[in-house]
């Protein structure tokens, strides 16, 4: 009974989006309302607890919304001043084959961006580029969402990776090796999925020549960087090595010859790319400078629900670092871009007004939905609904649990839109189940993080960002339909691999059987 009730808000959200094709706003409203009612009436989340949970949800929404608003502003800025046109025309000069462009941008370039910035930045940057190159909107969105999903866990300078190590209290390097095994599978699967999105099975076959050798190089680089214990750089260096390998394969295979002169409209390629290179440079710079103390965060007291579910005190919740959060970095990069436009003589105040108006129009609906969905996630977590659901599934599946374990990583990311949060919710839980079953906890924890990584492509936050960046706001259900099957298939294969590693090969990572 309680398990069914705990599942109801998610069921409502999924049915409204996928079966009834309602907008994300209405689906989110119904889902959050149901979670509030169920948490209050059946899970003993009283008014003080509900107040804290909802406030936490809104503070997390603020963190994400700042990224969305600034990224959409930057997109409209480069669009209005025709910088995106210069970028697209130069991509066409370097890589003429549309299939290679699609695969390289959606699978690898987006992963390089994830390695540096993450938090939805790959989606916001790469989706518009693909659309302007002439690819179908829905295919572009699905390809980027899935294409970079393998790189989320090791991306963003390793933030999700550090979280899983932190919540499980396991050795960082060993957990990295376990994650690497599952990430290798996810990497290949997502490369092939992007090929499939482009043109069906015919292009999966055609894409093997790129996906297999590129993945082999990336897997080697990933384990080498892990061996060197440079955990913050695993995502970035792996994806960069892939981008370079694929470009070399393309050059050998297609023999495109020396590129013609670079295209320059009102801006040169360097100037057109400046806001994006500034994002990369500033992200790296602030990582090195360690200016984390300049930040704002929220505090919340501990509480216990009427059913006895304990929620810990939060002393620094949803911390927004002025020199670490993507929004200030994107805003600084946008300002740099504006200065360059002024210096290049293409400044137009009317265009800035258009940029601001379009940013507001695009983000209003997204803001409402996002607040609803993140609040729902926090109400479910703080009321104990999420843990009730998890415990019941592990109880029902017993020894077969490792087959279903990836679904928790995916579920955590689907509810919260974040690999880090998925690891916070289910990291410790997965490790506890591994201990109870007497299997390797590193493998199970590594699986949790990578399944959470691919699950990010189903996260409401990411989907809304993608819809907003592609002009598909209101069509979120179509995006979900394109993305859900590859995620579930990959999760299924991960479960199978997990089972084989734990029960057939009885793999030993971190000195624990």
């Amino acid at each position: 009974m309680y398990t069914l009730l705990a599942f109801l808000p998610l069921l409502i959200l999924l049915s409204c989006l996928l079966a009834f094709k309602m907008t994300a706003g209405k689906s989110g409203a119904l889902a959050v309302l149901s979670s509030i009612i169920i948490a209050y009436a059946f899970f003993g989340l009283n008014i003080p607890g509900l107040t804290i949970a909802m406030s936490k949800g809104m503070s997390l929404a603020l963190y994400v919304l700042l990224i969305i608003w600034s990224a959409v502003f930057l997109y409209h800025l480069v669009y209005e001043f025709e910088a995106i046109d210069v970028i697209n025309k130069n991509i066409l000069i370097f890589i003429k084959d549309p299939f290679t462009q699609f695969l390289m941008l959606a699978w690898l370039f987006s992963s390089v961006l994830q390695g540096i910035a993450g938090f939805g930045v790959p989606v916001i940057i790469v989706v518009p580029i693909l659309i302007h190159l002439g690819f179908d909107r829905l295919s572009s969105v699905a390809a980027v969402l899935l294409g970079h999903s393998w790189s989320v866990s090791f991306g963003s300078m390793g933030s999700s990776f550090f979280t899983i190590a932190l919540v499980t209290n396991l050795n960082q390097q060993s957990i990295g090796y376990a994650m690497g095994i599952f990430d290798a599978l996810a990497m290949v699967m997502m490369g092939l999925t992007v090929c499939y999105i482009y043109g069906g099975w015919k292009y999966v076959k055609k894409g093997l020549i790129y996906v297999i050798p590129t993945s082999l190089v990336m897997i080697s680089v990933m384990f080498t960087v892990l061996y060197l214990n440079l955990v913050s750089l695993v995502g970035l260096l792996t994806a960069l090595s892939g981008l370079l390998t694929m470009f070399i394969i393309y050059t050998i295979k297609e023999k495109p010859g020396k590129p013609e002169t670079l295209y320059a409209g009102k801006l040169t390629l360097g100037k057109a790319l400046l806001p994006y290179t500034a994002i990369i440079a500033l992200s790296l710079l602030f990582q090195v400078l360690k200016l984390g103390k300049y930040s704002i965060s929220f505090q919340y007291p501990a509480f216990v629900t009427d059913l006895g579910h304990m929620v810990a005190q939060e002393t620094a919740y949803s911390t927004i670092k002025f020199f670490g959060h993507p929004a200030p970095i994107i805003i600084m990069s946008s300002i740099l871009g504006m200065l360059v436009y002024k210096q290049s003589g293409i400044w137009d105040t009317k265009k800035i007004k258009t940029v601001i108006n379009r940013t507001i129009d695009k983000n209003i609906g997204t803001t409402i939905t996002l607040v609803f969905l993140i609040t729902m996630a926090l109400v479910m977590m703080d009321s104990g609904m999420t843990s009730t659901l998890a415990l019941k599934v592990s109880e029902l599946t017993g020894g077969l649990y490792p087959l279903f374990a990836p679904l928790f990583g995916v579920l955590g990311s689907f509810i919260t839109g974040s690999n880090t949060n998925s690891n916070v919710i289910f990291g410790k839980f997965q490790m506890s189940v591994a201990t109870a079953l007497g299997v390797n906890s590193y493998v199970m924890s590594g699986l949790q993080s990578i399944s959470g990584s691919i699950g990010v492509s189903l996260g409401p936050t990411t989907i809304l960002m993608a819809a907003s960046a592609s002009g598909l706001t209101g069509h979120e259900s179509e995006i979900y339909k394109r993305v859900i099957k590859p995620v579930l298939l990959t999760a299924l294969l991960m479960g199978l691999l997990n089972y084989l590693l734990l029960f057939v090969f009885r793999i030993n990572i971190g000195g624990v059987l």
Binding site: G25, K26, L33, T367
Partner: protein
């Protein structure tokens, strides 16, 4: 309720809920929760 008003209303609601969370004010928390619910319900009233 227009979407812009709904977004603007989120700001005082968040402040109310945050203040109520840290002071234990049940009355303020209740008002914040009810306003939040009203915004969610308003999505179906056009």
């Amino acid at each position: 309720m227009t979407k812009k008003i709904a977004v603007l209303l989120f700001i005082p609601i968040f402040l109310m809920l945050y203040y109520a969370s840290n002071t234990g004010s049940t009355a303020l928390g209740t008002v914040g929760i009810l306003l939040f619910i009203a915004i969610a319900v308003s999505q179906f009233i056009r």
